[in-house]
Amino acid sequence: MWYVNMWNINMSRVLRDSKLDLLQGTLDLMVLQTLNSMGSLHGYGIARRIEQLSGNEVLLNQGTIYASLVRMVQRGWIAAGWGISDTNRKAKFYSITKAGKRQLKEDRTQWERLAVVMSRVLATSREGGKP
């Protein structure tokens, strides 16, 4: 689009945030998986669930999750709406959409393939290290 190119900014760089690409991709996948299995959840609920599953390996702060959530809402992978929690508190609830499910399937396949490849690569290098 011209207004982007006028400033000579790479479109993909504008839309994707550079630094945490890998980590963010992982976090997005976790959020999608969580929402897929648990149904509708608020931000705190998602954060708790991920903490329970992964310890503090992925989420340094619970606040980090919101950048991921808003991005996926904009992509149309998840939907958001205000609702009332079990404890009768107003909270924003997120749920996975059809597009999100598709994305989840795609990401999962890719992730699994990558995991297989990575473990194979790492295994050979360990053997190669000890002749």
């Binding site: 400033w7 702060n61 606040g63 991921s68 808003v70 508190r89 107003k90």
Partner: protein, 899 residues
């Protein structure tokens, strides 16, 4: 699709920042509340639970930033930020902003004006006519005539492959009345072949187009009105179609009205179908009345191709009809070239270039001002760079500022251009150039493009400077060093030199053009005291004054009336006046079997007995005409010096005989009875006196008079030598004419001096635009000079301000006021001198391009070559002098204490 959706979502989010921030705040609050409850459920005391929830959430501000970054467009926020910053900055520096915007707006407005005018002149042309550029104008010439014949046209039309269609047009003077029985008025009608409007792609606004049946010799007369005459003569009468008007006293039916603004080929009141009379069926060029043909080129056909094709057809015609078509040549021109003249591209191209020069000067000014501002803020920039702001960020800020300035200037410039194009259109309105000056989208795009280009041009110098900014040095050296940085000084000087060079080129270009115009206007006419000669043309209605006797009787009675008016010394009638062209006729001289060139023609005039007394050009040898030179006496002639010198170089002209020898008629021999001094006659450039032959009016009263359009009319001019200013007797003369016959139409009623003024339609095609050119060029030169002077002034002021401390030191160690002033003047004038030399060299090259437009002036005209630099130096001296006085007033004590 998803990436577009995402981009859109983010674009929208960037504009809803405030709402989204508030919503996220709420979400964060709810998150912490939920977490606190959760901890409390697990048995943590409330205060501790809340603390833990907050710790677990992490830094709220950081997550807000992350939220903002991932949902919105960071760069868009940055642009908003830059814009706000630039806006605030420009508002703070109001003097700079106003100066810069005004200068740039003026330059952009001027540039766009020229662009719009050029676009119209060279490419667009007629309003409403579709694809103007594909129209070609066709005329045929033989040595004695220059007018298309209908049978020739039919042959071209039948054989051509280059044209989609061809049409035939003539112009004829008519008397017109709207059928209500009131007095008829004389006006012009165009007789057109029935396909004309279709070929132009224009349809009547009311009623119908012409059809082939209208062209039949016995068809009932019909007419299409122009919107103007429908409005002026009929007050937009709604049921005008079918209305009966009288044309040349014959009833004709109005079949329609053309759309507003449509005029073709020149301004006129109505169009009538060409009637295929037997008179029209003559082969070979003839006329009057004047006819021409035009054609619309087929897609892909070129004008050159069409020209050679028509030439080939014409050669075949010459072989088939040698009697009429032997020496006929065709001229095939594009419409714009025909109506605007062959040198329009030189004129408008050079004006456009001048527009760019002015814009460049304005940009150089702005670059200099921005440079000064950037340097004034170098400490600020250095601090920001030291604190980690990227260079790119600073560059973007300068760019944004320039773009903001250029945007404002562009908007103002558009307004200026709208106004000035309208002024130009009104000032140059002419029957002969029916042009569509509307500013269109193309012009707007052009304006936006040059505004952006101007912004970039203004920004490039300061940016270059900024990138070289030495952070350490600036921070250590304090806000001001004692002397101005050498590099920025050179940059400023180079910009000033460039401006001066451009200004000199414009000045000397304008100089030669204006001198050409003056050469034409001030050329000797051979008439003494023309301001005391009252002139006017009398058009006699043909029904009443159809033959020589009735005409002569009228003029006899007129003479008596005029002679009785006090204040009139001498009076004469003649068939034309000195600015108009006489009737060109081929002729032969007794005893010379030449005329030297068989086709050579010369102007024949018929004048009254006292003509040479009225114009104060007394006979040199022989005698003037007198009342005894009648139809029944010896046919006589008077020639001018130029004629005598040309055809009887070493002989006595008196007593020689000559006669007009037109295509069909052969007049009787006329004996030369006198030689008169040269008087200008119709020569547009007025650089040479052409040979002329005068005959007594009474021996040839049937000759048509020639009006300023070169069209013949039934009547004559009168010339009255007055002893009082002509204005004082004008009313009496008009009344005398009215008393004689109210049906005689008085036109071109003015004094002879005014009739000599420059008029575009009297010029030849090549120089037709000289008047506009000569008036526009000095405007450009003046604006350029003014802008350059402002630029120089600003630079010198800035340099004096920068060097206050240095000047203080110099004065403290003994420099005199004069020494300081000389230093400032020298520093200011050095780049002026450099630019002047450069500009003079360039103007020699540029002026050569203008050569085709110059009349009687060399491109290296000494007056201009000396005058332009003198003007520039004077203006530059003034621009330097004002700040130099300030420098002298610097108080060393105050200056040294500063900072």
């Amino acid at each position: 699709v998803s990436s577009v959706r995402l981009a859109w979502a983010r674009f929208v989010a960037a504009f809803r920042k405030h709402d989204l921030d508030r919503e996220f705040d709420e979400e964060v609050r709810s998150h912490i509340a939920l977490a606190t409850e959760d901890y409390m459920q697990r048995g943590v005391p409330p205060a501790e639970a809340q603390r833990m929830a907050r710790v677990k959430f992490g830094a709220v501000e950081a997550s807000k930033d992350a939220h903002r970054d991932s949902r919105g467009l960071a760069w868009l926020d940055d642009i908003f930020y830059d814009l706000r910053f630039a806006f605030r900055d420009l508002r703070r520096d109001r003097a700079f902003t106003i100066t810069a915007t005004t200068m740039l707006a003026l330059a952009i407005g001027l540039n766009v004006t020229v662009f719009a005018v050029m676009n119209t002149m060279l490419f667009r042309g007629f309003s409403l006519v579709k694809k103007n550029s594909c129209l070609a104008y066709i005329e045929e010439h033989s040595p004695s005539a220059g007018c298309c014949s209908y049978p020739d046209f039919e042959d071209w039309r039948a054989q051509t492959r280059s044209f989609e269609g061809m049409a035939f047009i003539g112009e004829r003077p008519i008397s017109f009345s709207d059928g209500g029985g009131e007095r008829p008025v004389d006006t012009l009608a165009f007789t057109v072949s029935n396909n004309t409007l279709e070929l132009l792609g224009v349809h009547p606004f009311l009623g119908r187009d012409f059809v082939p049946a209208d062209q039949e010799p016995r068809a009932p007369p019909v007419a299409l009105l122009s919107y103007r005459s429908w409005e002026l003569r009929f007050g937009k009468l709604p049921d005008i179609v079918g209305h009966i008007v009288r044309i040349n006293n014959v009833p004709a039916t109005v079949i329609g009205v053309m759309p507003r603004g449509f005029d073709f080929p020149v301004q006129g009141d109505l169009w009538m179908p060409l009637t295929l009379t037997t008179e029209l069926q003559h082969r070979g060029p003839g006329g009057p009345p004047a006819y021409f043909a035009f054609g619309r080129l087929k897609e892909g056909a070129t004008l050159a191709g069409a020209r050679s094709e028509l030439d080939a057809i014409n050669r075949r015609l010459a072989a088939s009809y040698p009697a009429t078509n032997r020496d006929v040549v065709l001229s095939v021109e594009s419409y714009s070239k025909f109506f605007i003249g062959p040198n329009a591209s030189v004129i408008y191209g050079s004006l456009w270039a001048a527009g760019w020069f002015v814009l460049l000067i304005a940009c150089a000014n702005l670059a200099n001002l921005t440079l000064a501002r950037t340097l004034g803020r170098s400490r600020e920039f250095s601090i920001r760079i030291a604190l980690g702001a990227g260079h790119w960020r600073m560059v973007r800020q300068i760019l944004t500022e320039s773009l903001l300035l250029a945007g404002a200037s562009g908007a103002l410039g558009w307004w200026i251009a709208t106004w000035s194009v309208r002024t130009w259109a009104a000032a140059t309105a002419s029957r002969y150039q029916v042009l569509d000056y509307a500013l269109d989208d193309g012009t707007l795009t052009y304006l936006i493009a040059i505004s952006i280009a101007a912004a970039l041009l203004c920004a490039v110098v300061p940016i270059g400077r900024l990138l070289k900014l030495e952070v350490n040095g600036t921070l250590k050296g304090g806000a001001r060093t004692a002397t101005q940085g050498r590099r920025s000084k050179y940059l400023a000087a180079a910009l000033v030199a460039g401006q001066m060079a451009l200004a000199i080129v414009l000045l000397s270009g304008a100089g030669v053009v204006v001198r050409s115009l003056l050469t034409v206007v001030d050329a000797p006419t051979g008439v003494s005291d023309p301001e005391n000669v009252l002139i006017g043309s009398m058009a006699l209605p043909s029904e009443k004054y159809g033959n020589s006797e009735t005409k002569l009787r009228y003029f006899d009675r007129l003479e008596v009336q005029l002679k009785a008016i006090p204040g009139i010394q001498d009076e004469s009638i003649s068939n034309t006046i000195p600015v108009n062209s006489g009737i060109f006729r081929t002729f032969e001289i007794e005893g010379q079997d030449n005329p030297p060139d068989p086709g050579e023609s010369t102007q024949f005039l018929t004048v009254g007995s006292d003509y040479f007394r009225v114009v104060r050009a007394p006979v040199i040898s022989g005698r003037a005409f007198n009342d005894g030179d009648l139809d029944s006496t010896l046919p006589v002639a008077i020639v001018n010096e130029s004629f005598a010198a040309r055809f009887w170089p070493n002989e006595q002209a008196l007593g020689k005989r000559l006669r007009a020898k037109d295509r069909n008629t052969r007049g009787g021999w006329r004996t030369v009875i006198g030689v008169v001094p040269n008087i200008m006659q119709g020569d547009p450039l007025r650089q040479h006196f052409k040979p002329l032959v005068y005959a007594p009016f009474r021996q040839d009263p049937g000759t048509h008079a020639q009006n300023s359009d070169g069209a013949g009319f039934n009547g004559a001019y009168f010339l009255l030598r007055t002893s009082v200013p002509p204005r004082q007797v004008a009313q009496v003369v008009r009344a005398a004419l009215q008393k004689l016959d109210t049906d005689v139409v008085l036109q071109e009623f003015t004094d002879l001096r005014s009739s000599f003024a420059f008029r575009q339609d009297r010029m030849d095609l090549e120089h037709a635009e000289l008047g506009k050119y000569g008036e526009a060029a000095p405007i450009f030169a003046l604006i350029a000079l003014l802008l350059a002077a402002i630029g120089l002034y600003a630079v010198v002021v800035h340099s004096v301000n920068q060097r206050t401390k240095e000047i203080g030191v110099r004065m403290a160690i003994g420099a005199t006021g004069e020494g300081i002033r000389n230093m400032v003047l020298r520093d200011g004038m050095l780049p002026v001198a450099a630019g002047m030399i450069l500009g003079l060299a360039a103007s020699f090259a540029v002026n050569r391009i203008l050569q085709s437009q110059l009349v009687g002036v060399s491109p290296y005209d000494p007056a201009t070559v000396i005058g332009a630099p003198v003007i520039l130096i004077l203006v530059a001296l003034i621009a330097c002098h004002i700040p130099s006085r300030r420098a002298v007033r610097v108080d060393p004590v105050v200056a040294l204490r500063q900072d």
